[in-house]
Symmetry: C2
Subunit: 646 residues, 2 copies
C-alpha cells in the first residue's frame, strides 16, 4: 500500500497515511480535531479544509459553494488522499471547547440547579443517612501527637488512629503513593495534616494526605458524558457551590454520531483506544480549563462523579461495548467499580476517585439514573415522566413505587449536530425565535445576546413552530414554495429558509434551515413522542394520569414548552404540568458528588428501574410513522394546535 504524507497548516503537523485515506482520518491521526457534526457522512459541511498542494479525490458535495470549489475548499470527510498533500485548516473548522460564561450558566441551568439545591438542602434524609450528607471525598484536619519513646506507633497507624477518633469502627485503606510521601510529609508539617477521605462502602479510602490545614480546598468534578455533548462542572465540595461549568462536543463524534456507529468503530483496529482517548482528552481539557479559571490546583480535585449512557461509560473505561448491540443487548457493566481516575487517564489528584452513576441496561444508562435522582421521582407520590432529549431520547415513567424506562433513538439534531447551522447551547446560539406572520422576518434571541453564530435545539423548536404557524412549512415538513419571500429559496442541495443573513451573523455566513434539517428534526421528535406514547400505553395509562413532566436536555438555556408541544415533540397537555430542568444527568451527577447517601440512593434507583425495549414493541413503528408529521397525523391528539387552520 502506498503511503502519503499529509501536512496540516498552519500547525505544520505531518502524518503518514495510506493512499485513499480520508483527510478527516488523517486529521484525527494528527490530533487535529475537526468539526464533524455528522460523523463523516458529508452532510453537515463543517469539516471544510483547503487543499493547498497535492492530489486528492473528492466526492461532489452540495455543502460547498461554487466559489469554495474554485478556492480548493473540500469537505475533509469526503476527500481521499492520493499523494503527499498540504491541507489548510480554517479556524472555523476546528472543534474547540466552547465555554459557557457564568451568567449564561446561571440562566441556562436555573431550572435544574435550583431543583438540585432543593434536594440537597431541603430534603436531607435522602438515602439511609448512614453518614449524613457528605461529599464523596471530605477533608479531615488532624493535629497528631509526634511520636516519642512512649508512643512509637508507625506513621501510617498514627494517621489511622487520628481518623478513627473521628470515625470510630471504620477501616481505612490507602495506596502506595500516599504511603511513600507520608514520612517526610508528617515530619515537615509538624504532624499537622489534612486527610482526604472517601467514605463509600465499608472501607474508608484515604485519597490524599497534605501538610497543614487544607480543609478549605476540597473540590470535585461532575460530568454528564453525552454521545454528542460533554458537560462538566467544577464544584466546591465544602460550600456545595458550582465554581464553573463547561460544555464541549464529545470528540468521539469524529468517529460516528450515535452510539451504534461508535460501537461499530470500537471494533476497528485501535478503534476502542481512539474512542477512549477522545472522551478522556475532552474531559481533561475541560478539567484543566475550569481549574485554571477558578485557580484550583488539580491535586485538590479529589473525585469525579460521572453520569453517561451505558456506551459512553464503556468507552470511558475502555471496555469493549460490542455486546451492547448484539442480542440480547447486554452490557459488560451497569455498576462500574470505583477506580482511581488516573487509571482511565483522567488528571486530577493522583489517587482521586472516579464514581459513575449506575446504569440500568444497554440503552438506559447512568444518565437516566442520575436524572431520576435529580428530579426526585424515586420519592414522588405523583406519577412523573422524565423526558431526556439527547442523541438517545430516554424516557422514564413512574413514582416512589415503580419506574419504567425506555430509549428512543432520536439522533443529535436537537443538540445541533448534523444540522446545516446547528450548534450546541453556547454563546451566540439562537435559542428562541419568532417568525413574523406577514413579513416572515425572524426575531431571534441568542445566548449571551451576541450576534448569532448558529441555532441550538430550543431555537430549532421555536423556529419550526414559527414557520408552521406562518404557513411556510407544512404538516409534512416541506416548504410551501408558493410563499413569496426572499428568505425562502433553493439552496445548494434543497430548499432552505434564511434565518439570519450573512451580514447579521457572527460568522459572516447565512444561517439557514434546510428541508433536510427539518427532516432530521421531524425524525427526532417523532422518535421521542412515539416512545412516550408507547411507554405510557404499555403501563395501561393515559397521558392525563401523568402529574408532572420533566423535560431534560442540554439543547437550550430555556425551552418554550408551548413550541415543543405544538411541533409534536411532547404531548398536548396543560403547560403547567411541564418543567424544563435542563441537564438532569449533570444535576444528578453533582448530587452524587455532594452526598454519599445520594450515591446510595442512585444504586437503589438503578436497581429498581425496569427497562422496556421499544424496538420489540409491536406498535412502536406505527406510532413512529404516525408521529412523522407536525404535530401528528392524528390532529385529535393535539387539540390545542391550529397549524393550517387559520
Amino acid at each position: 500500500m502506498d503511503r502519503c504524507v499529509v501536512t496540516f497548516l498552519p500547525d505544520g503537523k505531518k502524518v503518514v497515511v495510506e493512499k485513499g485515506a480520508t483527510v478527516l482520518s488523517a486529521a484525527v491521526s494528527a490530533h487535529i480535531h475537526l468539526n464533524s457534526g455528522c460523523g463523516g457522512d458529508g452532510v453537515c459541511g463543517r469539516c471544510k479544509v483547503v487543499i493547498r498542494k497535492g492530489t486528492v479525490n473528492a466526492q461532489p458535495s452540495g455543502r460547498l459553494s461554487a466559489q469554495e470549489r474554485k478556492d480548493s475548499v473540500h469537505l475533509a470527510c469526503q476527500t481521499l488522499v492520493q499523494s503527499d498533500i498540504e491541507v489548510e485548516v480554517p479556524a472555523e473548522s476546528r472543534l474547540d471547547l466552547g465555554a459557557l460564561s457564568q451568567e449564561e450558566l446561571a440562566l441556562r441551568l436555573r431550572g435544574v440547579y435550583s431543583k438540585a439545591e432543593e434536594i440537597l438542602e431541603a430534603k436531607p434524609a435522602l438515602g439511609d443517612g448512614l453518614f449524613g450528607h457528605v461529599p464523596l471525598v471530605s477533608k479531615v484536619y488532624l493535629e497528631l501527637s509526634a511520636p516519642d519513646f512512649n508512643d512509637k506507633l508507625s506513621d501510617l497507624e498514627r494517621v489511622v488512629r487520628g481518623l478513627q477518633e473521628r470515625f470510630p469502627d471504620a477501616s481505612f485503606v490507602t495506596g502506595l503513593a500516599n504511603v511513600r510521601r507520608l514520612g517526610a510529609l508528617l515530619r515537615s508539617s509538624g504532624w499537622k495534616v489534612t486527610v482526604g477521605v472517601s467514605r463509600k462502602g465499608p472501607f474508608f479510602e484515604v485519597v490524599s494526605v497534605e501538610p497543614g490545614d487544607t480543609q478549605a480546598r476540597n473540590f470535585g468534578m461532575a460530568f454528564d458524558i453525552g454521545t454528542t455533548t460533554i458537560t462538566g462542572q467544577l464544584v466546591d465540595l465544602n460550600a456545595k457551590k458550582i465554581l464553573g461549568s463547561k460544555a464541549a462536543y464529545n470528540r468521539q463524534a469524529t468517529f460516528g454520531s450515535d452510539v451504534i456507529s461508535r460501537i461499530i468503530y470500537a471494533q476497528a483496529q485501535d478503534g476502542l483506544e481512539k474512542l477512549h482517548h477522545a472522551v478522556v482528552d475532552t474531559m481533561n481539557e475541560m478539567i484543566e480549563a475550569l481549574a485554571e479559571e477558578s485557580q484550583v490546583d488539580l491535586n485538590d480535585i479529589g473525585c469525579l462523579s460521572v453520569a453517561g449512557n451505558t456506551t459512553m461509560i464503556h468507552l470511558l473505561f475502555r471496555v469493549d461495548p460490542t455486546s451492547i448491540r448484539q442480542a440480547p443487548y447486554v452490557p459488560v457493566l451497569n455498576f462500574a467499580p470505583v477506580v482511581k481516575a488516573s487509571e482511565v487517564g483522567i488528571k486530577i489528584s493522583p489517587r482521586g476517585l472516579l464514581f459513575c452513576a449506575p446504569g440500568v441496561s444497554s440503552y438506559v444508562g447512568g444518565d437516566i439514573t442520575a436524572g431520576v435522582l435529580a428530579c426526585d421521582i424515586q420519592r414522588s407520590d405523583d406519577l412523573c415522566l422524565l423526558i431526556d432529549i439527547g442523541t438517545n431520547g430516554e424516557i422514564a415513567l413512574g413514582n416512589a413505587q415503580w419506574i419504567i424506562s425506555c430509549a428512543a433513538s432520536a439522533g443529535p439534531a436537537f443538540e445541533g449536530s448534523g444540522m446545516s447551522a446547528g450548534m450546541r447551547a453556547a454563546r451566540g446560539a439562537i435559542q428562541s425565535a419568532t417568525v413574523v406572520p406577514q413579513t416572515f422576518d425572524v426575531r431571534t434571541q441568542t445566548i449571551g445576546g451576541d450576534k448569532p453564530r448558529g441555532i441550538c435545539g430550543s431555537g430549532y423548536i421555536d423556529l419550526l413552530n414559527g414557520l408552521l404557524e406562518a404557513g411556510i412549512l407544512d404538516k409534512n415538513g416541506r416548504f410551501n414554495t408558493s410563499v413569496k419571500s426572499r428568505r425562502l429559496r433553493q439552496g445548494l442541495a434543497c430548499w432552505e429558509f434564511l434565518v439570519v443573513a450573512a451580514e447579521e451573523s457572527a460568522t459572516g455566513e447565512d444561517i439557514v434551515l434546510t428541508e433536510a434539517d427539518v427532516d432530521n428534526l421531524k425524525r427526532a421528535k417523532a422518535a421521542i413522542y412515539s416512545g412516550i406514547s408507547i411507554l405510557v400505553r404499555h403501563m395501561g395509562l393515559t397521558f392525563e394520569a401523568v402529574r408532572k413532566i420533566f423535560i431534560a436536555g442540554g439543547f437550550g438555556t430555556s425551552l418554550n414548552i408551548d413550541s415543543a408541544v405544538k411541533i409534536g415533540l411532547i404531548p398536548d397537555l396543560p403547560r403547567d404540568k411541564y418543567v424544563f430542568v435542563g441537564n438532569s444527568s449533570l444535576a444528578g451527577a453533582r448530587q452524587i458528588l455532594l452526598s454519599g447517601p445520594a450515591a446510595q440512593a442512585a444504586d437503589r434507583v438503578a436497581e429498581n428501574i425496569t427497562y422496556f425495549e421499544l424496538s420489540t414493541d409491536a406498535g412502536y413503528m406505527d406510532e413512529y410513522m404516525a408521529a412523522l408529521f407536525f404535530p401528528h397525523t392524528d390532529a385529535g391528539k393535539f387539540p390545542s394546535v391550529a397549524y393550517g387552520k387559520k
Copy 2:
C-alpha cells in the same frame, strides 16, 4: 567533573561515570552484580576484578596476594576510576542466584516445614475461622447462564451473582483490567469461567477471571526478605504443596551490609530507587526461575506473601526508611496495605496481590511476627523463646498471654557474608565440621555432598567449637600460635586456619578461617547471647523458666545445638529444650499464604507483641562485653563447657 567510560568484559557493557567513582559503583550502574559481602568496605575481598586497560587509583588491600597484584587484580570497591578503563569480571566475582535442589531443601527445611504443616493440618481452628482455612486467593469455577431477553443482567453483575451464590452477603470489588477483558472472555468461554477471589477483609477482591475451569492452577509465592538473604517458595495453593524454593543474596548488599547502611544509602541521590529495584529484581528473577522449573504460568500466581524486617518492607514498597534510624525510631508503616504486586514492580498475575506480614516496630518486623506464628507461640501455654539468627538477631519471648521481642545487631557473619570463605547455605557449603584433636585435620560435610566451595553459618559454629576444643583457638578468639600445624599459618592480613586446601576445594582456592572471621563471629554471637540474657532478665525470669527454644535462621540445613551452646551463642540449657526450625519467617509467610485465618492471627500477633529496646537498656553493653569470649567471661554460666580444662 570529568567523565570516564568503563567497559565491563566479557559482556562489553559500557557505562559513563564521574572520574573518581569506584569500579563497584560503575558495575552497579551497568547492572552487573558483583559479590560484595562487606558492602564495599574492602573487607571481604569478594569483588575482585581485573583492570585490563586504563588508569585507576587503588587502595592497598590485604585481601589480594602478590600474584594477584601482579596480574592487575583489584577490589572493585577500593578502586577509583581515573580514565576510560576496561574491567574484566571473573565468574567468581559475580553475584548469581544459587538455587537449592529439592533434596537439599527437604533436608534443610525439615524442621520448620513439618512444623508448618502441623499447624496447617492439625490445628485448623487458628484465627477466627470466618472462612475456614483458605488460601489468600482461591479459585471458583462458575458455569453462568448466558443472558437472554428474560435475563439481561450485565456481564459483571452476572459474575458477581454467580459468586454470591457461593458466598452470600459478600461484596465484590475488581479493577479495570478484568472488566476490560470480561465481555469477550465470557462469550468465548461459553459463560464458563474461573474467578480468582481474595477474601481478606469485608470486600472480596476479584483477582482474575479466566476461561474454562482453571481451578487446578492456583499458585502463590512466599518470601522471606532478609537483609542479606532472600528466600522464596512457589506454593500450590490447592495442594498446600511447595513446588520449589530458592535463596539468593539480597542484591541490596552492594549498597551496605546492614539495615543502617541501607537506610543511609536510601538518602543518597536515587538511593531509595536503587535499593527498591535491587530487591524487586532479585524477587522477580526467583519467581521467574521457580515458575519455569515447575512449568507454572506467571499469570497463575495470584498472590505473594512476604515477611521481612521493617526496613526491608519499606524498601520493597519504595517508602523512605529515614525515620527508622532517627529517634524515636518510628517506621512509616508496620501494617502495610494490601497492594497489587504489579504496583511495586513484581511480575505475577496483573492484578495479583501482595500481602506483608505486619511488623511490630522499626527493629522487630514482620519476619518475627511470621516466626512467632510459625512456632505457634501465640497459642502456647509454655513459655517459649524464639531466636532468629540473621543480620539482625531478633529474639521473642512469651506464650499465649504475652510476647516481648527485641533485636540485636549481629551482622551477617552467620549468613556467610563479610567472611573470607563464607557463603550461604547452598550446595557445596560446609555445614558441619569436626576437628580431629591431635592431627588438627578437619572432617567436613557439605550441603549436597559436593566438594566444598565455602563455609555457611552452621559450619562456622561447628568449626569454632572444634578449634576451641582442640586448643587451637583460645577463649578470646585468638589462634594459639604455639600449636605446630601446617594448617595454622600467617595469612595475608592476619593468622588463619586452613580448613580445606585448594586441591580439595571446588574453587581451587584454599578455604580458610581467619582471626578476623573469628572476631566477626564472636561479635555476632555476643550480640545475640546478650540480647537473650537482657530480655529474659527484663521479664524477671531465668533461662530455666523457658520451656521451649526455637532456633531460626537460614544459616544451615541443620544445626549442631551442642556446638552452638558451647561457643556461647545460646544459653547452656538441656539440649532437648532446643528445636532448630530453619527459616521461621518464610514458614510464617507461607502459612499466611495458605490461610486467611492465619493472616488474621498474624495481625493479632503483631498487635500484641511488646517491643523492648535493647540499646537503651543500662545493662546491655556490659552483657555484650562479657559475652565477647568463648563461651563467656563467666564460665559459671556455661557449666557443660570444658574448653581449656583438659
